[in-house]
């Protein structure tokens, strides 16, 4: 209890502190804004996030060596965490720009909305920077509570409230499991610090109580990334949420869940007997991965609602990503494992975040107050009325399906080839490839609708002219094509951001 907190600790954690501070600024601006002097909150929070990304980029270049032991060993600042910071802030930036037009179109109240988006982003950043379960839980809860509120923020809309209450109940149960698991681990090891637990895990890994605690923690994390037995909340919450928030959830919340899953597997689960021993974590995860991608894809095939289809598609992508996580976990030599298999996972999460926000951005863009166009049927003939929206949607769908000139293709290629290097994963990779082929069908369905069917009605309606929305969508398309054509440098960033050898 003789903690030393240095002034430099605050410099190391500057990106987090900046986002929290900016969130307070945005909330204050919302409170002071009146009908006469209306503050444009969306661009204001986007500006803050853009500055935040710059600070994070500076921080990334400074932290070639991870800074540990900050705030009495509560926080770690390494390139892995900063890489995810950038993903979260980019997702939040896109979301706040997309929300501007959406909120105006649907007559939302803006007050509070942007501030909570920023605080959710801050919660995710605290979570990936946590070196201790105590800090991890509080960051996770900050994120979760903010997301529950954002899902429910469409006041008076039944789907919003319904999705939020289902998400809240299941999420709160998952948090209780997480906390109970942490309590058991604390009881057995006498610590909540990830590094200390990792050291003790080598001797305790065959103790049932320790394993049960870890099982509870893993179940809670599986809930957050929506792996198959814990995925039930996803379609309802995704459908009920305001569309820009759905994109934020698919991109950032999922990435945050995988970030802590990777950190947990990279540290606590590194004990070989935990991975390969009687409990056989790796085998359990292999089955979960195969189930997740198959169930997600099969249900996505049957959806007529585009938001639900994308929700199930996000479940199947979680299955693919988990495959990469397993590939990392099954290499006994930790340094080599991180180098070969973790980079592709980070790369995949990065491009998936951009693509999925883009896809939900199109749904945001073409939806009007009187015609939300959430059903696939209403997309027919869109190419003639909204040519740019149709073109951008085609790019996003091709990237989600993993078709060559886009980022999604390379992400899948790297991920599957990393998995193929592990003996015993061949059959899962075959299932994954088979699933990718199936998924092409439902990803191309909206494209076929848009280009090869004539508009059934005259309810064309211009897309709401929000320059911010158009900017975000154009940027997302450009990023996807740029990553697809020149994948080497983003992949190099991802490779440089892997966790240090455990």
């Amino acid at each position: 209890m003789n903690a030393v907190i240095r002034a430099t600790d605050f410099v190391h954690t500057l990106p987090i502190l900046f986002v929290v501070g900016w969130a307070c600024l945005v909330l204050l601006a919302a409170a002071l804004s009146s009908d006469e002097r209306r503050v444009d909150l969306g661009p204001l929070s986007a500006l803050g996030l853009a500055i935040g990304i710059c600070i994070a980029a500076w921080s990334w270049s400074e932290h070639a060596q991870p800074a540990t032991g900050l705030f009495a060993s509560m926080v770690v600042v390494d390139r892995f965490a900063i890489f995810f910071d950038v993903i979260f802030m980019t997702a939040a930036l896109f979301t706040s720009l997309l929300s501007r037009g959406y909120l105006r179109e649907h007559g939302f109240s803006e007050s509070g909305f942007y501030g909570v988006v920023l605080l959710a982003c801050a919660g995710m950043m605290m979570m990936v920077h946590a070196a201790d379960f105590v800090a991890l839980v509080l960051g996770l809860e900050t994120m979760s509570l903010a997301i529950y509120c954002l899902v429910a923020s469409w006041v008076g809309q039944r789907r919003s409230a319904e999705g939020a209450i289902k998400y809240f109940v299941m999420g709160a149960v998952a948090s209780a499991f997480l906390l109970y698991g942490i309590a058991l681990v604390y009881g057995v090891t006498g610590s909540t610090n990830l590094a200390v637990i990792t050291r003790k895990a080598w001797t305790l890994s065959s103790e049932p109580l320790f394993i049960i605690g870890m099982l509870f923690i893993m179940a809670a994390l599986a809930f957050k990334v929506a792996l198959v037995p814990f995925h039930m909340w996803t379609p309802d919450a995704y459908e009920g949420a305001p569309t820009p928030i759905t994109g934020f959830m698919a991109a950032a919340v999922k990435a945050a869940g995988f970030a802590i899953l990777l950190r947990a597997i990279g540290t606590v689960f590194s004990a070989e007997s935990v991975v390969f021993g009687s409990a056989g974590w790796a085998n359990v995860f292999v089955i979960l991965s195969a189930l997740t991608m198959s169930v997600g894809n099969l249900f996505a095939l049957r959806q007529g609602n585009i938001k639900r289809m994308l929700a199930y598609s996000s479940i199947s992508h979680a299955g693919y990503i988990l495959l990469g996580v397993i590939a990392m976990a099954t290499v006994p030599d930790s340094a080599r494992a991180n180098a070969t298999a973790q980079g592709p996972v980070l790369f995949y999460l990065m491009q998936y975040a951009i693509t999925t926000i883009g896809a939900f951005g199109i749904v945001t863009w073409i939806g009007r107050r009187d015609a939300q166009r959430l059903m696939l049927d209403s997309w027919s003939g869109l190419a003639s009325t909204h040519p740019w929206a149709a073109l951008a949607m085609t790019v996003f769908m091709l990237s989600l399906a993993g078709i060559p000139p886009t980022a999604g293709f390379f992400a899948k290629l790297y991920l599957f080839s990393a998995a193929l290097q592990q003996p015993g994963l061949l059959w899962v990779v075959i299932i994954a490839i088979f699933n990718s082929v199936i998924s092409v069908y439902y990803y191309l369905r909206p494209v076929v609708m848009m280009y090869f069917q004539s508009a059934d009605s005259s309810e064309a309606g211009e897309p709401s002219h929000s320059p911010a929305t158009v900017f975000v969508l154009a940027l997302a398309v450009l990023l996807i094509l740029a990553i697809g054509l020149m994948p080497s440098s983003p992949l190099a960033w991802a490779d440089a951001s892997v966790l240090a050898g455990r």
């Binding site: 209890m1 003789n2 509560m74 109580l209």
Partner: protein
Amino acid sequence: MSFPRFTKHAGLLSVLLLLAIGGTAFAQDATLVRAEQGNGLLWVFRVFAVLMLATAALTISVRNAVVAALCLVGTLISTGVLFLLLHASFLAAIQVLVYAGAIMVLFVFVVMSVGDADEHEIGISSGLISKILGLAALIGVLFVVLPQFKSQIVPQAAPLADTSDFGSLKPIGRLLFSDYLFPFEVLSVLLLVAIVGAVMVSRRRSADETVDQGGAQ
């Protein structure tokens, strides 16, 4: 809520609450004299553990939400007593003040404002598979985990010195502002989210917002 049923439960509940409050006072005396050697404290523990579980079982089984809330208060106060027995005097105070006081007032307030929350039946009717899975998991957890608590790996308590300030305000306060400074500050962000979010979600719809669209696209 139907009035007669409420009064019936209220009688039972007031007895439980009185027991809990009386027990709190007794346990406090007992911890003050630190009569650790005797079996007396063990019996106090057993009584309040049973009381806690009984009120918890009532919470999830009564039909009326107000009665459930009162049962939950009983559970929380009994837990506070257990905290005292485990030398967590600060947490016991927090438990009664924050949980049994503030959170439960919030609950009762919402129950009252939302109104009659009677449900028609208790049973497995929707999401049958998930409910069965949940129950199976529950039974599995109980059967797998419970025996482990008697194992060697569970640490056992050593007697505390009379001068020990374990569990009092001083060491916890010191901890919160040194080792736990970062989580403590994150907690402030968490509470900010809760305040802003709760206001955002529960406000009334303003005039120009879209009304509910039911099945519209």
